[in-house]
Subunit: 384 residues, 2 copies
């Protein structure tokens, strides 16, 4: 399914030899039209990888005819040579895809920062992938963009005569603005670039921007939405936007569920906020509190650490009116001791924290992970 | 030495039974004058423990005649009862210390959040401690405020006829504004409260405010500076301020050196910044990056994670002008690959990261720790 669930798209995923392991590491997604409209959202990190700088330029035209993605190297902090390598990748794709031009080909990379890509393997890989393009290639493409992901991630929603599908990769460096990841969404709905852009931004704001596995924002985050128009259907905006949001939400949850070393998925809902911004700020502060993340790992309903995280924000609240529930047990009431903490059952992977600021009617949900020894192990040995 | 290095002070440290382990858990520091001037700096967390709320009021008068400190419980998020308990503690100290009044007695607590203190043990403990006050009691007091600290922390600097000494506790929840900790400094210099306040704020801004072990800000941070005037010497401000800063710096380094589960002390120096605020913002962002902290634990000179942390700030810089050294090897130059990373020797506990923003002449140093499996273990089992 993945990026080839919608009509008008072909894809491939191959092992180009970028990864020393020999695992798949290069994906190609092609929009065969008739339309080639596109929208993109990129990392807000000011240190942007070469492919992000390239693809941001491509997206300004509102047209993307193909996307080349590689794992095994982020091509970030690689200077002018890194940018030339991205450019050469797009040129190579244009060369092997008849009727395409480099200026309409997006590039995305993921892997270690600070290393040049092995172009002697990547460029032939683009040609190999072009030879394997298929309407059933979506799964292979999703597999080829994995780094430390243990599973590949895809999602699909069906509309009334049209489809939205997609693939995602991401397991570490997951934090808002955007979460660290590569995502390609495709649709056969007949929409122009501005409509796609609005639907994509509305969706990412509430999904990928609200997961925070480890507080670390990537240099390579890229989310693309490509429309082929192959269904011939022009959907109502609301229905289409809802489908895009559902696919993004599905993929975002899969990212959290596969986060490096995590043993818990933590759903943090902030309610009673004076504004949505307050709710998001408080949710992120809770999501990033290492002591709380350790406590959740230890199945310890340590609401004091929730309060100490809330206390570092500028949100509207009074400390003695705060309420906190963990798995629906209100262990903190009015800033002090509430229900018996022994009532909280934390055996399952999903943990729900509800923080009531008692200051209004706005709310937000942030998804996070616990902090584990496995996370430390995985990330202290990653590049060695 | 500790808080009784300066003339005019007595102290005691006892086991009152607050800790189930039976370890020392209650300290008393008394200023016997002739002066009883004082200054204090407290956590900027908006969720403040009862003793912080109490002591902030006491310090407004500029006079502190005694300090009662307990470990084994933070008395945070304990509502009106918690505040009454702090008040009762000060009243009890005033009762057993002739000539003292409760309104001039500061209280500090540390330990688990969200539990009421066992007042049936704490109040008799205050009386016991009063009976053991001694000019040699500083070490015992420093020992009694330990929580997860593996060692007690003291420091002393001698001036020209006067002395500044102090004690600190803190091992987790260490982050700027202030670092999580209790600190009592004493001096026999003859200074008034405004002078003490200026010297203390100047010192904490550059020391305790610039350590960040785990990004978690406490509800209980308290730093007090008490002056007895017993030396009869009125020091020059600069000399006194320098001594206070040195004692604070010494204690701050001891806190980092004993941080929970840490295997590395990381000195992050940001240079070439357009402003000191920029340097501090960038330093803190690097200090809090979990992926980088894991890499340092693994002795991996992963400068890409330094750049990705810098990129999340609003500081003035151009990505392609950033330089990063790890243990003095410039592994990143102009935003890209610099010297061979294999030249970096990271076997020792201290690791030095230098980040050059190439945007000005300002700088700042932030101290941090690595992130380890031991930190996770210690903090996932802490309250159970």
């Amino acid at each position: 399914m993945s990026v080839t669930a919608a009509k008008g798209f072909t894809a491939a995923g191959i092992a180009a030899g970028i990864k020393e392991s020999g695992n798949p590491d290069l994906a190609l997604v092609v929009n065969n039209g008739p339309r080639r409209a596109a929208a993109g959202v990129f990392t807000s990190n000011r240190v942007k990888a070469a492919p992000v700088l390239w693809s941001e330029q491509v997206l300004k035209g509102g047209v993307v005819s193909a996307v080349v993605l590689n794992s095994g190297g982020a091509n970030a902090c690689t200077g002018p040579q890194g940018f030339q390598d991205t450019h050469a990748t797009a040129e190579k794709a244009a060369e092997v895809l008849p009727g395409h031009s480099a200026g309409e080909i997006a590039v995305a990379s993921t892997g270690l920062i600070g290393l040049l890509l092995p172009m002697d393997k990547l460029l032939p890989g683009v040609e190999t992938a072009a030879g394997q393009l298929s309407e059933h290639g979506g799964e292979k493409a999703a597999i080829a963009i994995k780094t430390t992901d243990t599973v590949h991630k895809t999602a699909v929603r069906e509309g009334d005569g049209w489809t939205v599908g997609g693939m995602a990769k991401g397991a570490g460096m997951l934090a808002p603005g955007l979460a660290t990841m590569l995502v390609v969404l495709t649709t056969d709905a007949d929409l122009d670039a501005p409509g796609l852009d609005k639907a994509l931004r509305d969706a990412t704001r509430l999904t990928f921007d609200r997961i925070d596995s480890d507080g670390c924002m990537s240099t390579n985050d890229t989310v693309l939405l490509l429309a082929s128009g192959a269904s011939g259907v022009v959907p109502a905006y609301e229905a289409f936007a809802a489908a895009v949001r559902e696919v993004c939400d599905d993929l975002a949850r899969q990212l959290i569920g596969d986060a490096e070393g995590a043993s818990k998925d933590i759903r943090i809902e902030v309610i009673g906020a004076a504004s949505e911004d307050d709710a998001v700020e408080v949710g992120r502060s809770i999501a990033r509190n290492n002591l709380l993340k350790c406590a959740i790992h230890g199945e310890d309903p340590n609401w004091g650490r929730v309060l100490s995280a809330i206390g570092t924000t500028a949100a509207v609240f009074e400390p003695d009116r705060l309420n906190v529930a963990i798995n629906d047990i209100w262990v903190c009431k009015n800033g002090g001791v509430g229900a018996d903490r022994d009532l909280v059952d934390m055996r399952f992977r999903e943990v729900r924290i509800t923080a009531d600021l008692a200051a209004g009617s706005q709310s937000a949900v942030i998804w996070a992970n616990d902090l584990t020894a496995d996370y430390v192990h995985e990330n202290s040995a990653y590049s060695s």
